[in-house]
């Protein structure tokens, strides 16, 4: 735990210094919204379509973050440094996943309002509580899968390709669930109650992969 905090702290510091990941993610998603707004000369979207656009955007932005997650560790020997320390290895998983989770939250704090302003037809505010719940679950899934995939990809000769390549398919179920869960919230005629089924699937998905990740992560670090 102390370790995870130390690593997380380091990662956030690094992000503050290099300013590489989060701004890129945020700009990317805003760019997408702008494209849809002006490009798809449909001033507003709602319902399932809106949910889809939002989810897909966040997912892609997330992938961009995933790709950078372990680059510094690899290029600058952070892995070795961490492995030399007398600490529990799964702390790295915890730290990286939390870092990614935080990045995603920051991203959404920027992107979701932007979405509300740029693209969304129905008002955002009434749906916010439910929305936050869904997105939190989604972020959790992306964070866990993303960390795992990123750790897998970063040691291969094709980091930047393999990450998204394995990550996107793996995340499809989570994406389906998220989009379907958000859809009803953005109905033009005002939000419907959260579809519990999809929340359940999302939660299940998070749980399963969290457990898998915890079980296998150490093997990604071993010599």
């Amino acid at each position: 735990m102390r370790t995870a905090l130390a690593v997380l702290r380091k990662d956030l510091l690094l992000e503050l210094r290099t300013f590489e990941t989060v701004p890129a993610m945020a700009l990317f998603s805003i760019a997408i919204f702008v494209i849809f707004h002006f490009g798809v000369n449909r001033p507003t979207v709602d319902g399932q379509l809106a949910a889809g656009v939002l989810t897909v955007t966040l997912l892609f932005a997330g992938i961009l973050g995933v790709n950078r997650l372990f680059v510094a560790e690899r290029e600058q020997g952070g892995f070795d440094a961490f492995l030399l320390a007398p600490v529990d290895r799964s702390a790295l998983l915890l730290a990286k996943a939390s870092a990614l989770f935080l990045f995603l939250v920051v991203l959404e704090v920027i992107a979701v309002p932007a979405f509300g302003i740029l693209l969304l037809g129905p008002p955002l505010s009434p749906t916010l509580p439910a929305m936050i719940l869904v997105l939190a679950l989604a972020d959790l899934g992306i964070a866990v899968i993303g960390t795992l995939v990123s750790a897998l990809a970063v040691q291969t000769r094709s980091r930047d390709v393999i990450g998204p390549l394995i990550g996107l398919p793996l995340l499809i179920p989570a994406l389906i669930a998220t989009a379907r869960a958000i859809g009803p919230l953005l109905r033009p005629q005002g939000p419907a109650p959260l579809p519990g089924k999809w929340l359940l699937i999302l939660a299940l998905y998070d749980l399963v992969f969290a457990l898998v990740a915890y079980a296998v992560f150490d093997f990604l670090l071993e010599d």
């Binding site: 394995i166 499809i172 179920p173 669930a177 299940l204 399963v208 990604l220």
Partner: protein, 243 residues
């Protein structure tokens, strides 16, 4: 190092028998489908192929778990072969499915059906398994990472299945909603036999492949012992596990 040849002959014979039995049942016993007619019989190939391939991927994942638990590289080899075979079966399922689709829906492929598309995703994802292995030099790391990949995939298949089931399929039938429930008796029997047959086929092929791989590795080991490891050619990269 165990030889995988053991019991292969018996198994092969059993497989042959079961499959031919299945075929006989399919063509002479199972009744013609009321509205689809003869083409429906591909059901007895397609569905088992699809299901066995999915199970094969999961099987590969379980073997990968064993590899990581025991640290025994042979499990990695087994997992590799299992996934390899499942991939072949998967492609076969795709093909048989599309034939059926062409016959009964008029298109080779229906994209807006979750079952089909998600299955394709699964197959494609495991299609990256080999290239993924290939892009890691160090054999040990390759083995470990491939196992993690396999486990991810193994966990992914059922989850994906659930998510897809929840998102109502549009055209793709759902017979096995409560596992073979509403199949008429003879069809059910035939179906079970053919599933058994395909499953046996999978196991047999798996064992064959394992035996072959083993032979190759032992040969290489012998060669190394004879030539001596002084002048080893620089690391040649391969996707296949090398012990």
């Amino acid at each position: 190092m165990p030889t995988y040849g053991k019991g292969l002959r018996g198994l092969s014979i059993l497989t042959l028998v079961t499959i031919s039995a299945a075929l006989i049942l399919v063509f002479f016993y199972a009744p013609l489908d009321a509205n689809q007619g003869f083409i429906q019989k591909i059901f007895y190939i397609h569905v088992p192929l699809a299901i066995v391939s999915l199970c094969g991927f999961v099987f590969g994942g379980l073997l990968a778990v064993m590899h990581l638990r025991t640290g025994d590289r042979r499990y990695d080899m087994r997992s590799y072969v299992a996934i390899h075979m499942a991939l072949i079966f998967g492609v076969a399922a795709l093909i048989s499915g599309s034939i059926w689709a062409k016959a009964s829906w008029g298109h080779w492929w229906v994209w807006d059906d979750p079952t089909l598309v998600s299955y394709l995703i699964v197959v494609l994802m495991f299609a990256t398994y080999t290239p993924f292995r290939f892009s890691i030099e160090d054999p040990e790391r390759q083995a470990r990472y491939a196992s993690v990949f396999a486990i991810l995939g193994g966990a992914f298949v059922p989850l994906n299945f659930v998510a897809v089931r929840a998102a109502q399929g549009l055209v793709h039938p759902r017979v096995l909603t409560v596992s073979g429930g509403n199949l008429p008796g003879p069809m059910a029997l035939t179906f079970l036999i053919s599933i058994l047959g395909i499953a046996l086929l999978y196991v047999t092929l798996w064992k064959y492949e394992m035996a072959a791989k083993n032979a190759r590795i032992q040969l290489r080991a012998l060669r190394r012992r004879v030539l001596g490891d002084e002048d080893i050619s620089p690391l040649q990269r391969t996707a296949a596990p090398s012990l």
